[in-house]
Every structure is written in structure tokens, then in C-alpha cells.
Amino acid sequence: MSRRHQNFRNYHQEKRLTQRRLFAAAIFVVLLVVILMARLFYLQVIEHELYQTKANDNRVMLITDPPPRGLIFDRNGLVLADNRPIHSLTVIPERVENLSKLKDILSDIIDITDSEWEDFDSRLKEYRRPYQSLTLKSQLSDKEWAKVAVDLYKLDGIQVEAQLTRYYPFGEAFAHAIGYVGRITPNDLERVDRLAYQGALFIGKTGIEGFYEKELFGEAGLSKVEVNARGRIMSELESQSPVPGEDLHLYLDARLQQYAYDLLGDYTGSVVAIDPATGGILALVSKPAFDPNLFVRGISVDDYSVLRQSKKLPLFNRALRGGYPPASTIKPFMALAGLEYGFASWTERYFAKGYYQINPDGRRYRDWKRTGHGWIDLERSIIESVDTYYYQLSHKMGITPIHNFLSRFGFGKSNLLDLNGSSVGLLPSNEWKKAKYKEPWYPGDSVNVGIGQGFMVATPVQIASATAALASKGHYYNPRMANMVGSQPATFEGDKGGVHDIILNDQRNWDRMTNAMKKVITDSKGTARRLQGTDYEIAGKTGTGQVFSLQEDEEYDSDKLDKRLHDHALFIGFAPAKNPKISVFAIFENGGSSSKPADLSKQLFDAYLYDNYPAKYDYLKGRQ
């Protein structure tokens, strides 16, 4: 059939057929073009802003320039926390031709430990900005630096970068006061502006470094840069220079601090010295300590476990957190409480036996002197540290007046202004015992508190600031470390401010108590009579805190006891008694007799008052 048709082909009709099809195709073409244009309209007009934002997010990157950290100075302008330039070997992984070969190439030039490689590899896997350098080995020695520098030209992506690191020139004596900076952890980043810390190597962790982090850090420089798809910076759009951190000027006296630390010898313990006129902390010692420089670039696991496992707890800040019975050092405060509420007077006489009993047949609360002190008055109770006098006084008073009076001296409170983590100690009360033990307060509990034992616990900083308040006749300061931040008086968010006056019913009692405490040294029976022979007057009070409870009739025999069960030896004092320049609290843990802290305090007074330090401390003199 088709063959027959061929004979009668209508070429014109066939042409019309194809032309109709071409027309249909043209319509189709127009339709599809309309779809394309609609699509472009959708992307370029309707969604324009979305894609504009996306394009800007692609190309604009914020990078931060860490500011130099503020320095920390002692009262004489000595730098206690310094910034030091170090040279580190850094790698820009994007520029290294063959990262896996890097190890072989570098090992010919420089020693890089396995742990440094591990560290590097793990940070390589974390998110980072492309073309940001990663530290491979920090603190190159001059020799290593020279070696790398010579061969650097053939190492693409490898460079030596100068960075500022934190350095604590005087090491462990200052560790608990100044604190340290350390590597930034994810936890740290939760509480700071992530962006600002992007290029920072470390962050303040403890002590002054931790507390004044904001001031010391300054403001990070911020630049907006344009980057290409591989993260390489093409141009700078905007930039804001970093603002260096503020310098901190502390009340701390570096020589006093170091001297006190050394005077503790092999004992564990704490010394806190305060300027009674300002509440400024002159020394804040906790021994043993550690080298804060270990923490700056991240402490190694080995070093850390040594510190963690040491039985002497070098990481524990005793000055802030050590809970000790104040022992007999509480007696001046207890006596003032008795006078304040009319339970004691300077003239009333008391017969001190070798023990005190609440009931005639009851438990015997023993005096440190078995034979007793005979007829004494209040002043003599301080001089000879008569336990039975305070047993009866606190028994008469009961806990509530004791609690109220002592809390005016900062006991039971976190009073330290500018260091974090201080403990509140324990100033017991009726309510406290009910809540804690579900038991009422017994008279016997008061008796123990009377000599600073029993439930009562205080920190060295608390006892020291209470002592400073005695020295300044009731001018109580919350103690603080920093004097100036930059050129401004140190203050911070939530600063409770410094001072309140403790007004006694009879203000003469301050002088009378100072007199009594002077006689602790000058009296022939004074418990600190070994401190006699100074050209200035010292007011002080000794204490020995029980670590180990004796049975009623048992004799304390230091030779038989394990050293760790020896009594704590305490001393509070200030000098010169009339116009005190310095007040001190010192504790030797398990020091046995209070002669050790008393001697230490005297040596500190001598040195501080007369600028009479052993010559070996000249390097800590500063620029006075």
C-alpha cells in the first residue's frame, strides 16, 4: 500500500506537516524558555536575599587576634606573671604537599616526641579554620630554631611562629596566690566569648589569673576578611586592633611571700599576711605547691598524676580552702564576745583548775596545763592561754552570742573578695546543728567551741582577716589581692567592697585586748615569750589545734604519735602593736608546738617592718 501511495506523494502536504510540527516545536521552545525565566526570577528576585546572605557567609570570615595579656605585679612593681616570646614550629596543613611524609622529613631536622605528634594529629582532626596554623612543637630552643630556619625554605607549609606565652618567673611559692593559665577547654569556652578566644593559646584558670581573667585578657582584635573557597584570605574588609589586657598591681609583697614559703620548711601549712590598714593581702602562702608553668601549655598526664597523687596535696589551696580548728587563736575573739555581752569582765577573777566540768560528776574538759593556772583574770587567760577560763565562758554564753559575735569578724563566711573557690569554714549555731545532725546544741558543744575546737572550722584567710580587724581596732576589711587594675583602683562585678566597722559597747576593749596580746610575748609566763627582744612591740596569740582526740586521762606524748597526728601549730599576731603595719596568721600542720609559727611570724615582722630580708631575697626586690 505504501508503495502505491508513493506514486501519488503530495510533497506540499508533507511540507505542511513538517511545518506544523516545527510550529508546535516553537511553541514548546517558548514554553520551556518561560519556565527557565521563571526559575531565574524565583532565584534572582524572590529568593535573592537568601542567596545574597549565603554568598556573603561563604566569603566573609571573622578572625581574631588575641591581645597581649596583662601582667601581674607585686606591690613593689616586680613582675609575677610575665609574657614571654617563644618560637614554635607550626604547620599549615593545606600548604604541606604530603602530610604523611612530613614526619619523615622533619625527623631528620628536629626531635619531635611521639606525644607531640599525637597531639598534633588529634588537633588536625578537630574543626579549624582552613589555613590556620597548628602548633607542632612549642618552645623551640635557639639551636632547634636555627636548624629549622636553615631548612625552612624547602618545607612548604612549615614555619616558625613567634607567640607570647605566660611565664611565672618565681614558680611554686606564688602558685596558690597568682594561680595559672592553662589550655582552653570546651568548658572554659562556655563562659567566655568563643570568638574572642579563637586565637588565644590559654585562659586564666585559678588564682588571680582566673579571677581577673576579663581584665587581664583585654579585647581581642577582630578582622573581617574575604576568603576564597579553600579558605585562603584574599583581602581584609575591616579590622579592629586588639586592646591589650590590663596590668594588675597586687598588694602582695614578693619577698614576704617567698620568705614565708621558705620559713615553713618541710612542713605543710599556710601563712596569710594582711595589711590591717587596707585589708590588702601581703602574702598568701599554701605549702606545698607546684610549678604553675607546668600548666601554661597544658600539663602532661604524668606531671598531673604526680601532683594529684601526692599525699601532701600540693594542688590544694590551704590558705583559701584549708579547714582548721582555730584553736586558742580564737580566745581573744571569745574574750571580746564575753565582754560585749556581759559574761566576762577585765576585773573578775577566776580560779583555774586543771580541768572544767559542766556537772560535778560530768566529763572533765582538760586544760593544757594539768596543774591548772590558779587565780587568774581575763588578761592572764590570754597571756597563759587558759583553757578552763574559756570553757566556763563559752558554757555561760552558749552558742548564739558566740555565733553572732564571731560572724562580725568574717568567720563562717566567704570573705575573700578577689579569689575564687575559698571555703566558708564552719561557724556553728543551733540551727546548723539541728539541720545537720537533727540534734539540739548541747552545752558541751559550746565548751569545745570556746577554745576553737569542736565543730568550729576556719580557713587561714578568715583567721588572718579577723586578726587584721583586731589590729585595726575593729576596722574590718574583706581581704583582697589586687590593689590596682591598670591605673584604676581594683574593682570588679559584684565587688562587695571592703570595709565595715565592728563597734564594741566599750571601744576601749580593743586596746585592752591588744595589751593582753602584747603580754603573750612580754610576760614571763606568756605562751609566746620566746619572741621577746624586738625593738618593736608584737601582739600575738598562740594556738595548738588537736588533730587527734585524747581520752580524758591520756597524756599527749608527741614521740609516740605518728607525725601526721601531731597537733597543728598556729599563731596570730600583728606588729607594731600600737600602729600595726602587718598582721599574720601562720599554721604548721602537725607542727606540734606553736613556737614554729610564732618564730615564723616574728621573722616576717622583722623583715617587713625594717626591710630586713635575708640578702638571698634581693632578686625579689622589684623597683621599690
Binding site: R21, L43, M234
Partner: protein, 373 residues
């Protein structure tokens, strides 16, 4: 004096004069418009790489020479050569599978002595419609069922060979160029509707024979955000480039997506995104207008061609050219999967410039060899 100026101008646009040298001035004019704009965009897209632009110009000149040469060849010789050419190129496609060279898991080129390489599948884009048009040249239209089946057989064989390389983009374009001939020959609407109904099944079959990377492209097309840094990157970045261009664009060489290398393949398949970013919707509209001018002229030539062979061939070549453009812009703007089709005459490199210019040579030959009536 003015009269003589106009006369001379008339002489310049005189169709008879151009016909003598077998040039269709309207077609050439539209092509030059497109090429000029394309080079302008390429300069920016290549990162101001003058050497690259020079190479492109060189390629266009070669294409132009081939175009003019083919324009001199009367269509009847083309018709006579069609079956032999078809068999020859199909044979080369077999050779590609046997001895071909390639990259990225695809084997598309034949090596020639002297370090030259060429891609027979590209030539098939022209030879396929020639073959089908030849087939219909002595038959009465519309085609019978038997003829349709034979034509489909002719189409399917080279398409499979190309798809096997694998080169999905080219095989689709080759198939489309053959099917266009069938359509223009008057393929019954019921067949067309039937095929449309059959499409889902065909789609499923296609999915089954696709390579993993081809499937990946389809999946990425359906949801580019599923893998923003991997296979979805291209399409996300090209949409961002287009969208951020807005109505008027960011200015020549000011496109951040293109200049900062966020846009991949910015000088080849994705060059339209550079245009869209730097010249906005306005620039895209002008580009598409240039294409439409070429296509309109091509369809006009087809409609007025002398015989069935010329008509079918010219129509199919023009429509295939349109499909090229549509698929490219469609994939870059995210309404079609990324199949690797360059933007004709604008994208850098590729054998496609030569074949497309050859296409225009054939169209001019058809237009200029008509016997005067």
C-alpha cells in the same frame, strides 16, 4: 548622495550577495552576538585568564572555518553521504569501547596519531539526525508503524554505545536529535502520548542500568542539601551564585562566588552561573534572547527548506541546539539533574564547539543552496 549610501547599504545586506558565498547573515549575526557575550563572561569566569580566552577564540575560529566549509557543500551530497557516515561513526563508537581512552571512569575518546584525540559521540549528534532524515527522504510522511520501529532501532544502537562509555549527557542529546526527526516527520500524536505514559517505566529501567555516579547525580539533584560538601556542593553553590546576582548582578568580575572559587566548573558547565551572578537576571535574559534568535532563524530555515531531508535535518539540529541550552541552564539553576552538558558556544573548551559550528554550517548550506524560484 544619500541615495547611493542606502543603495550600498542595501547591497551589503543583500541576501543574494551573501547567498553567493553561502552565508546566512541573520544566523551568523546572532551567533556572533552570542559568542561575543560568551567570551566576555569567559574572561571573568576564567579569572582574567587571557590565554584561556585566546584558546577559546582559536577553537571558535576553527569551528567557524568548518562552518563556512560545510556551508559550501550542497545538502544533496550530505544526504547521499549520510548512511555511510552513520555506519562509519557507529563503527568508531565500537572502537571507543574497545580501544578508547578517557578519564574519571569514562572512556570517550579515540587517540589519533600526533597526540590528537577526538570524540566520535560528538559527531554522532549531527550524523544521527542526518541518518534518520535520510531514511525518511524517499518515504512518504507521516511514517508508518514499521518505519517508526526501524528508526527507533537506528537510534537505540548508537545511544546504547554512548551510554556505555558512559556518557549520559551525550547519549541523551543523540537520542533526542534522532527523535526530533521522527517528530518532525509527523510521528502520530498517539505515539507521543503513548510514550509519555510509558516514560515512568522507561525511567525505572534507566535507573537500573545507570552507573552509581549517574544515580548519585540524580539523587543530588533531588536533594542537594543532603550532602552540602560533597556532591551537592556544585548545585548549592551555583544556585547561590545565581540568586545572589539579583536583577542586575554584582558587576563584571565582581562575582564573589565565581571569583573566590566557590563556584566549581565556573568556566565550563557552570558558566551561566557566573553570568547570572555578575550580570543578574538582565544578563541571563539577554543571553537567552541571543539563543532564541539563533533558534528562531534555525526553525525558519527548516520551515522553508527545499526537501524533506533538509527540513527534517535543519529542524532537528536547531531543536537539539535548544535542548543543549535548556538542559545546561536547567541543571545549573537546579531544575534538572547535573548531566554534564556545556552551555553551547559559551562554555570553555570541549569538542562541542566544533560540532555546534558544523551544525550551523549545515543550516546555512540548506538555506543557501535552494534553487531560486
Amino acid at each position: 548622495m544619500t541615495e547611493s549610501f542606502y543603495r550600498r547599504a542595501l547591497v551589503f545586506t543583500n541576501a543574494r550577495l551573501w547567498k553567493l558565498v553561502h552565508i546566512d547573515i541573520l544566523l551568523v549575526g546572532s551567533i556572533l552576538l552570542l559568542i561575543g557575550g560568551g567570551l566576555f563572561v569567559l574572561y571573568s569566569a576564567s579569572g582574567q585568564n587571557e590565554a584561556m580566552v585566546e584558546r577559546q577564540v582559536f577553537r571558535l575560529i576553527i569551528g567557524g572555518i568548518i562552518c563556512l566549509a560545510l556551508a559550501q557543500l550542497p545538502p544533496k551530497y550530505m544526504r547521499r553521504a549520510s548512511p555511510a557516515l552513520f555506519v562509519f561513526i557507529a563503527g568508531l563508537l565500537v572502537c571507543v569501547l574497545l580501544f578508547g581512552v578517557g578519564a574519571k571512569g569514562a572512556q570517550r575518546w579515540l587517540s589519533l596519531p600526533g597526540g590528537l584525540r577526538f570524540q566520535p559521540s560528538e559527531i554522532m549528534k549531527i550524523v544521527m539526525p542526518m541518518m534518520i532524515a535520510w531514511y525518511f527522504s524517499d518515504k512518504q510522511l507521516p511514517p508508518s508503524f514499521k518505519q517508526i520501529v526501524s528508526v527507533l532501532g537506528l537510534i537505540i544502537l548508537p545511544v546504547l554505545l554512548i551510554a556505555k562509555q558512559p556518557d549520559l549527557g551525550t547519549s541523551i542529546l543523540v537520542a533526542v536529535s534522532g527523535i526530533f526527526v521522527l517528530f518532525l516527520a509527523g510521528l502520530g500524536w498517539r505515539y507521543i502520548l503513548g510514550a509519555a505514559a510509558f516514560a515512568p517505566i522507561a525511567g525505572y529501567t534507566l535507573w537500573q542500568v545507570m552507573h552509581d555516579y549517574q544515580r548519585q547525580r540524580v539523587l543530588t539533584f533531588l536533594n542537594p542539601e543532603s550532602d552540602p560538601l560533597g556532591s551537592g556542593w556544585n548545585i548549592i553553590q551555583s544556585k547561590t551564585a545565581i540568586g545572589s546576582g539579583g536583577l542586575y548582578g554584582k558587576g563584571w568580575m565582581e562575582g564573589t562566588q565565581a571569583q573566590l572559587d566557590f563556584l566549581p566548573e565556573s568556566h565550563t558547565d557552570f558558566i551561566i552561573a557566573v553570568l547570572a551572578e555578575e550580570f543578574g537576571m538582565l544578563g541571563c535574559g539577554l543571553l537567552i534572547l541571543a539563543y532564541l534568535l539563533i533558534i528562531a532563524r534555525g526553525l525558519y530555515i527548516a520551515a522553508n527548506a527545499e526537501d524533506n531531508y533538509a527540513r527534517l535535518l535543519a529542524g532537528s539540529l536547531t531543536l537539539t541546539f535548544f535542548v543543549y541550552m535548556f538542559v545546561n541552564i536547567g541543571m545549573v539553576s537546579g531544575i534538572l539533574p547535573v548531566v554534564g552538558v556545556p552551555l553551547p558556544l559559551v562554555s570553555y573548551g570541549g569538542t562541542s564547539i566544533i560540532t555546534i559550528m558544523a551544525t550551523f554550517g549545515i543550516l546555512m548550506s540548506i538555506q543557501t543552496h535552494k534553487r531560486a524560484r
